[in-house]
């Protein structure tokens, strides 16, 4: 009896110390992330807020300037131009992806389809090329030359050549097309995974009830795909507002001197690393954060609203 009791006590004690040990281990195991985050994630983010209220050229002393940096940025026509460019390119580059991506995913999932893997792999392939590579390929496809492939194709339709690298709409359209080209396969794969997660018997029941394939796509696939659509709309919105590499590389040497395709992040980069105005650049970073939060919320809200309306009908 006695020894059994003591044994139990020992076991309990061991368990307690084991619990403590586990706790220490767990904290130790998650510590690397938090240490790294504190140094290169949190500190810089907080410091950006501080810098946004300072005037600083990167070398001398900082001086507090209140909201002046924000005023300078918000009164700069180039900032508004860059925001306008970002939104236009974002809309033209990402919105069609959602529609085309859903159609492609439905087709890729169709029961009759042969060469399914071939289509899936080829449609996804643009995504593996880096943004720099895509921008360079498209800078040649869409060059200003009259003989560029894009202009040749326009010529076939009797249209005049476009200065893709230096005109207001030429640059935007070319950059939107390359964004679309690189990402549509990515979204298709996500939609395809979404469609495959829909139980088969829902479709079987609909077929028995006499619903056509098209009706099934509209009334079953689309509503059940909604979480995936919301996800891609969110990613696309955030990604589009952060556009930098594609226009920068596409425009090459004239990237920071022309304004037709300057995006907000390019504006920020130019302020900081070309003009050494780190205060206004930080203010731009804060403004961009606010813009991203607003647009991501609106777009996510709108996307989730579409289905709700349909349900009420």
């Amino acid at each position: 009896m006695d020894s059994a009791y003591q044994k139990e006590k020992k076991v309990k004690k061991r368990r307690l110390s084991e619990k403590k040990k586990d706790m220490v281990s767990a904290y130790l195991y998650i510590a690397p992330f938090f240490v790294i985050f504190a140094v290169i994630g949190l500190y810089p983010a907080v410091f950006s807020f501080y810098l946004a209220f300072q005037s600083w050229n990167g070398l001398g002393d900082m001086s507090f300037v209140g909201l002046n940096n924000f005023r300078i940025v918000l009164e700069d026509p180039l900032f508004w131009k860059s925001l306008y460019n970002t939104i236009i390119i974002g809309l033209m580059g990402t919105a069609p992806q959602i529609v085309i991506g859903i159609i492609l995913a439905i087709l890729l999932n169709a029961a009759f389809l042969r060469f399914r893997s071939f289509f899936r792999v080829t449609i996804f392939m643009p995504y593996i090329t880096s943004m720099v590579a895509v921008a360079l390929i498209f800078s040649v496809l869409f060059s200003d030359h009259e003989s560029s492939l894009a202009n040749y194709v326009l010529g076939l339709f009797g249209m005049d050549p476009v200065s893709w690298g230096s005109s207001e709409w030429g640059t935007k359209i070319a950059i939107s097309i390359m964004v679309f080209w690189r990402w549509v396969g990515y979204n298709t794969i996500i939609y395809l995974a979404g469609i495959q997660s829909i139980p088969k018997d829902v479709y079987e029941a609909a077929t028995i009830d006499g619903a056509s394939k098209f009706q099934q796509a509209i009334h079953i696939t689309l509503p059940l795909l909604k979480p995936f659509i919301i996800l891609t709309v969110f990613f696309s919105t955030v990604g589009a507002l952060q556009l930098f590499s594609e226009p920068t590389v596409f425009l090459g040497a004239s990237a920071f001197t022309r304004d037709e395709a300057m995006t907000v992040v390019m504006y920020l980069y130019r302020d900081a690393f070309r003009l050494q105005s780190f205060g206004t650049a930080s203010a731009t970073a804060i403004i961009l954060l606010v813009i991203i939060v607003i647009f991501a919320s609106i777009n996510t809200y709108l996307t989730s609203g579409i289905g709700k309306k349909k349900r009420r009908e």
């Binding site: 790294i36 029961a111 996804f124 943004m131 560029s148 590389v249």
Partner: protein, 280 residues
């Protein structure tokens, strides 16, 4: 994937479906093909109307021009080292933390986990300027470690690893190992690691490709052409007003070929990494 169980007659609908998918495939593949064409053509071929769409014989010459402009293989190697180190470090940090979140109980566990998820929504350029000065003050500007350190931060990795450890490592196995007197780290190394290796492939691909293609940070930190990664080196090819298209696309082509080969070999893994990374 479901193979068709019975053959159907070709209806108008199926025909349209095949046409649409074929068009999508052609448009997806054409820029790759055309990049190859341009990489093998003289610059003057570019000015011909109608445009040349068949390969020429300047493959070697164009690539030699690339080699005279940038340290192509050096940049490729730099990118490879960068991505390999980052991937290994992220796999280690993420799996260890994922293990902790999946199999241990400790105070503030949920709060800490949600915090990690929340860090995902910080846009990367918000901290860009302070990060730049942080690296500069540490004397890491224009060095590979300076580029690397930013990519070590990977909340998605912890999220995926926690999920995977949760789903695939049975509690009983860990309990049994504990009874045998295994230390926690020993459990991680000898039990958890072997089980989650497949998830390493998924997360490894996500991290490697993301770092390989990243541009803004590499472009900001690396200044000396000697230290360029392949992305920054390629971008520098077009950074003059007098551009040689054949040369530029030759560089892009040879930098993309290895990727295409790896992708074609492991395309299932690539595609599933996308769905696992974003659908969960």
């Amino acid at each position: 994937m479901h193979k068709p169980t019975k053959k159907r007659k070709l209806s108008a609908g199926t025909l349209v479906a095949y046409l649409f998918l074929s068009l999508a495939s052609i448009l997806s593949l054409f820029p790759f093909y055309w990049m190859f064409v341009m990489a093998t053509q003289t610059s003057s071929a570019y000015n011909s109307i109608p445009p040349t769409i068949t390969p020429g014989n300047m493959m070697v010459e164009n690539f030699q021009k690339v080699l005279s402009q940038i340290d192509f293989f050096g940049a490729l190697w730099t990118s490879f080292v960068l991505c390999s180190v980052v991937t290994l470090v992220v796999l280690f940090i993420s799996s260890l933390a994922g293990f902790a979140f999946a199999k241990f109980n400790f105070p503030a566990k949920n709060v800490l986990f949600v915090t990690i998820l929340l860090t995902m929504i910080i846009p990367p350029q918000l901290g860009l300027i302070p990060q730049y000065f942080l690296i500069a003050n540490a004397g890491l500007l224009d060095t590979l470690p300076g580029v690397m350190i930013l990519f070590f931060l990977n909340p998605l990795g912890i999220f995926l690893m926690r999920q995977y450890v949760n789903d695939s490592v049975p509690d009983e196995l860990i309990e049994a190992a504990k009874l045998d007197g295994c230390s926690n780290f020993r459990i991680y190394r000898s039990i958890v690691l072997p089980i989650i290796l497949p998830a390493f492939a998924t997360l490894g691909i996500i991290v490697f490709t993301a770092v390989w293609g990243e541009f803004l940070w590499q472009f900001t930190v690396l200044r000396d052409p000697e230290n360029y990664t392949i992305q920054v080196a390629l971008a520098s090819l077009s950074n003059t007003f007098n551009v040689d298209f054949g040369m530029i696309l030759s560089g892009v082509f040879w930098a993309t070929v290895p990727l295409i080969i790896i992708f074609l070999l492991f395309n299932r893994l690539f595609i599933s990494s996308i769905t696992e990374g974003s659908v969960k």
